[in-house]
Amino acid sequence: MSAPLNRLLEHVLEGEPPLGDEVDEVFRRAARLRRRRTQAVLLAGAGTAGLIVVLGYALTATLLSSPPATISPGTADPGDVVAATAPPMPSGVPAPAPVTDGVRTVVEPLLEGRRLRIVPASARRGDGWRQYRIADAQGRSRGTVRVAVFDVRKKWCFPVAADPEACARPDRTGGLEFVRYDDVSDPDRQVRQTVTRRNGEDQVLAVLAAGEVDAGAQRGRPALTGAQVEQVATDERVLDAFDAGEDCDDGCPDFPTPVD
């Protein structure tokens, strides 16, 4: 049937319309097709690049919003400090609520009453300690306020600055016992320090207000009075501001009267 079918089909094709400029139209269409394919490739590339940017942004935002690293006990040295202020957050990412600094909450009102303030961004903290630079209304430095907690042994007693073997007899208030160690005899190195211990507990708190060194008797005065240092040291909120596991051991800043 091959030959007959071939001949039959020829009759079917009678009435075929003329070709016209079909060849040119084929090449015009090929040019359009090529442009569309090029655009598709470019769009796909742009889309891929955009996707990479979005994923990179999301990953970066996720990593930046992670909690800041903390100093593990026993690994910090005096140079290792962590800024107490929150790290900058990328826009569009909800910033976490600022961490409340319980020590600062107690200290700051006392400073304001004396027309002093904590120097912005000066707060430093480490395992078991907090420290703030203080300035007056004119921006002149007025020394530092330093607070620390220490884990002590059961047989620990309040130290005596002049005799390492002796024990001081503490005063008592509420469930706390404390000793003040103020020394303003040297106008260039004035310090006020109070050490507090909760009855029967192994955690001791030390609060120090140290005046600006070598600034003279007036400007070298500590930012807090002896009574205010005692007030801070016997405020339960200050002890509670530290985590149970915190201990100012290795890397602890100096205190004029050492606790351990």
Binding site: L5, L19, V23, R29
Partner: protein, 159 residues
């Protein structure tokens, strides 16, 4: 065809376009659609030839055209559409087209490629992605069905 210049491509398009369009018409029964499908197939062939990815332009063009016709005309019901201004079409031609379009698209493609375009079994298999036995089977079945339908139609017209 890869690497050849536009002149060679234009020569190929000029020489193959009429036959491709006729094959498309036998596949779809509509000259306007046949023209459109042929134009699209050759445009793809030209574009891909310039990219150097066309090994055999005839196989590429007929395979693409048959696939395009198959996608556009899956249903077996056929409506013959003559070209605008064409003279009257003979009844026998309409009956043949109608019988052709009652076959499956693949069976119809085998008959068109083998008996209209004159390709051998190997080339037809390459264009339709079939092996030799499948091409032969489609061809036998298509011719038998076509002969039967045409015989019935002639008997009906004679009666």
């Amino acid at each position: 065809m890869s690497g050849e210049n536009d002149t060679a491509l234009r020569d190929f398009v000029t020489s193959r376009l009429p036959q491709l369009r006729r094959s498309a018409f036998l596949m779809c029964g509509d000259w306007r659609m046949a023209t459109e499908l042929t134009r699209a197939t050759l445009a793809r062939m030209v574009t891909d030839s310039r990219r150097g990815v066309v090994a055999d332009p005839d196989v590429y063009a007929y395979a693409d055209l048959m696939e395009a016709c198959r996608r556009r005309n899956r249903r077996r019901e056929h409506v013959f559409v003559a070209s605008p201004g064409a003279a009257g079409v003979e009844a026998e031609s309409i009956l043949l087209l109608d019988a052709l379009h009652k076959l499956t698209p693949r069976c119809r493609a085998v008959l068109v490629l083998r008996h209209w375009d004159g390709f051998d079994v190997d080339a037809t298999g390459a264009m339709l992605d079939l092996d030799e036995e499948q091409v032969a089977a489609y061809e036998r079945a298509g011719l038998a069905a076509l002969e039967k339908m045409l015989g019935e139609s002639e008997a009906a017209m004679a009666g």
